[in-house]
């Protein structure tokens, strides 16, 4: 196995269907962020490490129906800066900036007037950004920044788990011979309850044998 813990992740993913669950967590986070700030939209971008593009991984509010999976080229707007610098940014009256407006409109179809963007960091890596557009919760305060940081912490965990699940999936796809037996076994254990009991006994015995 190429990565510590990848074997367990692969099996866990196969058993739990992890990515869908993590995507739900991410979606719940942006919905909560949007509600807290009474904002027009809240979204999470994932940085694609292959080309640096930002990919919409969760959207609540404006653009919710059609932005998921949309890619924004590297270097676009405020989210790009935040991902590159690792520093949160809060800007008001951004629609007065013609360059920003054009880019935002081209990428999302929506031009906000106020934007709060915060990096999603796990360990040393910026995985993406959380963006809240056009908050209605009044003038920006440092408490808002703290709250945004809390949402970012949760979104970063969800994003990290999603990425792990995806890597595990890729591993399964790339090394079918090595793992296919285990995946079949995990799927079988999810099936018929009677066979499940017997199967778990066998798994325990195998565990004892391998020590």
């Amino acid at each position: 196995m190429s990565e510590p813990g990848a074997f367990q992740s692969a099996v866990a993913h196969a058993v739990l269907g992890a990515e869908a669950g993590h995507a739900d967590l991410l979606a719940a986070t942006v919905r909560l962020a949007r509600a807290t700030f009474r904002a027009r939209a809240a979204s999470v971008f994932l940085v694609d490490p292959t080309d640096g593009a930002l990919v919409f991984a969760a959207v609540a509010g404006e653009g919710e129906r059609d932005l998921l999976g949309r890619r924004v080229p590297r270097g676009t707007g405020v989210a790009g800066w935040v991902a590159a610098s690792g520093q949160p940014l809060v800007l008001d009256h951004v629609s007065q900036d013609p360059r920003f407006s054009r880019e935002a409109a081209e990428s999302t179809g929506y031009v906000p007037d106020a934007i709060m963007a915060v990096p999603l960091t796990r360990a040393e890596t910026v995985l993406g950004t959380l963006q809240v557009l056009d908050r209605a919760s009044g003038p920006f305060t440092l408490k808002d920044m703290d709250l945004l940081g809390l949402f970012a912490s949760q979104a970063a965990v969800a994003l990290d788990l999603t990425l792990r699940a995806r890597r595990a999936e890729a591993l399964l796809a790339g090394q079918p011979d090595e793992l296919v037996g285990l995946v079949k076994l995990a799927a079988a254990l999810d099936g018929d309850p009677e066979r499940r009991v017997a199967g778990l006994r066998l798994v325990d015995a195998l565990g004892d044998l391998l020590g």
């Binding site: 610098s85 007065q96 900036d97 960091t121 920006f140 440092l142 920044m145």
Partner: protein, 292 residues
């Protein structure tokens, strides 16, 4: 019927707080100002007038290590130089070329404009360490800082940091070198409790935000790692495209302190970074001041 006491045995009930009040963060909401106000009684007071009164920053070279600076923005004025620095290859520490593109984001222009608003006569140099498409890496950041330290600027404004621990020894060495050669390195603290550098080093002046509108108002923090709080909320700052933006964050508090450092150095030539930092702490808001 009396409701049960939620805090029965262990002394008085804790003070009511809003949910966000106990969040650990390196910024300074108004409600927390009294907690950090300077309590030390100094043998003699220092006034802002003594620290920087009458100074316009003339003769001081300030470097904006950032996304580039729009050179013709009316609130930035002419730049002394505009360079792009990237990591070198092999033994080459960095590569330097003239910056033909200006600001790629707006962030660097905002920082330069804030420095200019405080120290109108200082010389501002832009050293861009973020490439087209914001491809800046920790390696480019190190290269840019190394260049800036070797170039001997009086003040380096660094509203940037890196989260990569592998760069810490090199950053530390560069920050110390700056300190001993009389270059004041002013670095943004993260707005969130994230491990990043170089702002955590004692040899730099680390900056967080307070919420007051006064660009000269400072708080000195008795609970580091953030040492100075400056104006960082709802700051009108120049942006790329000849526009202005209202911006918030430690990124914009930092150039306020850089500008004040330029004023101090201009008024007290030869002053050392440690003395500049002490001076900032001495003019910071005091506990006994009415408006704290």
């Amino acid at each position: 019927m009396t409701p049960p006491d939620p805090h029965p045995a262990d002394g008085p009930a804790p003070e009511e707080t809003s949910p966000a009040e106990d969040i650990p963060a390196w910024s300074l909401p108004r409600s927390a100002e009294a907690r950090v106000a300077e309590r030390t009684v100094w043998p003699s007071a220092l006034t802002p007038e003594q620290a920087w009164g009458g100074s316009d920053g003339a003769g001081v070279r300030v470097c904006i290590l950032d996304s580039g600076v729009q050179p013709d923005h009316p609130d930035v004025g002419p730049l002394a130089e505009a360079l792009v620095v990237t990591a070198g290859e092999g033994a080459e520490p960095y590569r330097v070329r003239p910056d033909e593109e200006g600001d790629l984001c707006g962030h660097g222009t905002a920082c330069a404009g804030i420095v200019r608003s405080i120290a109108p006569a200082c010389a501002i140099s832009s050293v861009r360490v973020l490439g087209e498409g914001f491809t800046g890496t920790g390696a480019d950041l190190i290269a840019g800082l190394r260049f800036a330290v070797e170039a001997g600027y009086d003040v380096i404004n660094m509203s940037l940091s890196t989260t990569h621990a592998r760069f810490v020894p090199t950053l530390h060495e560069l920050a110390d070198r700056a300190y001993f050669q009389r270059t004041v390195l002013v670095a943004s603290a993260h707005n969130m409790p994230v491990d990043s550098w170089p702002w955590r080093f004692a040899s730099v002046i680390s900056v967080g935000s307070h919420e007051r509108p006064d660009p000269h108002c400072l708080f000195a923090n008795g609970q580091p790692p953030v040492e100075i709080f400056a104006r960082g909320v709802d700051v009108e700052a120049p942006w790329m495209g000849g526009r202005w933006m209202r911006a918030s964050g430690n990124s914009f508090a930092t150039p306020h302190v850089s500008g004040l450092c330029a004023l101090i150095i201009s008024k007290h030539p030869g002053i050392r970074p440690g003395q500049v930092k002490a001076m900032l702490a001495l003019v910071a808001q005091r506990e006994d001041e009415d408006d704290v």
